[in-house]
Symmetry: C2
Subunit: 230 residues, 2 copies
């Protein structure tokens, strides 16, 4: 029985990492489709999002089954609760990637990135991909330094998000309404993607520290302990 | 011990309803602030959002504590798991209300609703408020007919959301970039608010039926059973 239990807990964690990896692929493809007006790549992201949704639902079912049958406590309980809470955010990250892909499809064969904003969106896209990669590694290793890295990258995304609005609302902006709508939505999707990653990272901190509202000091202590073990 | 247990389960449910009621107030004030450029009302929504966030975190802590100490099963377990999953969506609904309020504050003393879209946004706001009210009642009573009502109202919101984009992207649209940005974001926030409500409603269906992926038939059966009891 104990054997089976630990098997299913490992299953929970490996499924979380699997979904996170699907999200990495989705955001990587979506941002490349968006930058390069690659409609075939965009279609792939849109089709594959169903798989992320499916896997998130299946993970929830497994988590609830474990709670019902095995009544885990302490760290085991935290793993299951974290999985339940994280799966929803990963699923939303997949949705954001899908929305970005949809923008490139709508505008095809024209470019989806409005003039004058290409480098900003390319940078935002690269940050989102890096954030997703770090998140997958964080879920696999619980190396909390990655939670810090994700928070910092999210700050950079927020800055670029603000820059998009500055440009769009400046007197120099010559875009049509369509370009303005696209810039607004695309920027919001990129920014939300990063936000969800920060929210997942926080939950992994909870998993590692057992502290739901762990402050910076607690996290730094754990990071220091982790570093000492390396 | 059993006594204490049932006390805390009732506490979980009443806290969910309490948060839902705060969300009703938030969206009601936010949409009125948005339609009437009432910056004082907008400020209230922005300030009060912290309370929703706080109560959602406290509810999560309670739910996890119950899982750890009381190891609930069957319906009791479903109540606790539903609370964990629903609190995040309610918190996001509060955020959407806050974002709508922020739009009215940014544009003050000008009107936040772009010209030609007033009646559309007023209607969207009314639908969001009605959805929030139904959601609070659904959480209190588990009357699944309300889940249907919420889904239908969400369809109406989606239609209005599409209409906003039709208007903004039509040749007749004369709005500046600022009006286009505002319309895009405001419409998205109203639409997301309703989406989150649908997602909460689904989880209440799970709570009532025990079926995570309950189809329409299952729901109709439960609704019929509920109606027979009335």
């Amino acid at each position: 029985m104990r054997e089976v239990f630990h098997q299913s807990l490992e299953d929970v964690q490996s499924r979380l990492v699997e979904i996170a990896d699907l999200v990495v692929t989705a955001i990587d493809k979506a941002t490349r489709a968006f930058a390069g007006s690659d409609v075939a790549l965009a279609e792939e992201v849109i089709t594959d999002d169903a798989l992320i949704d499916e896997k998130a639902v299946a993970l929830d079912e497994l988590a609830i089954e474990i709670l019902a049958r095995q009544q885990p406590v302490a760290r085991d309980l935290r793993i299951v609760v974290t999985a339940l809470r994280v799966s929803a955010s990963l699923e939303r990250m997949g949705d954001m990637a899908e929305h970005i892909a949809q923008l490139s499809r709508y505008r095809f064969p024209e470019r989806a990135i409005p003039k004058g904003l290409k480098s900003t969106f390319v940078k935002m896209g690269e940050l989102d991909v890096a954030i997703a990669r770090d998140l997958s590694t964080l879920l696999r290793t619980e190396d909390l330094r990655l939670a810090d890295a994700i928070r910092n990258a999210d700050d950079d995304v927020d800055e670029l998000h603000a820059r998009v609005f500055e440009k769009v609302l400046s007197d120099k902006w010559k875009g049509e309404a369509e370009a303005t709508v696209d810039a607004t939505l695309a920027s919001r999707y990129h920014e939300r993607f990063a936000d969800h990653a920060v929210s997942v990272a926080k939950k992994v901190v909870y998993l590692a520290t057992g502290d739901w509202t762990a402050d910076t000091e607690t996290i730094e202590t754990v990071v220091a302990e982790q570093a000492a073990k390396d």
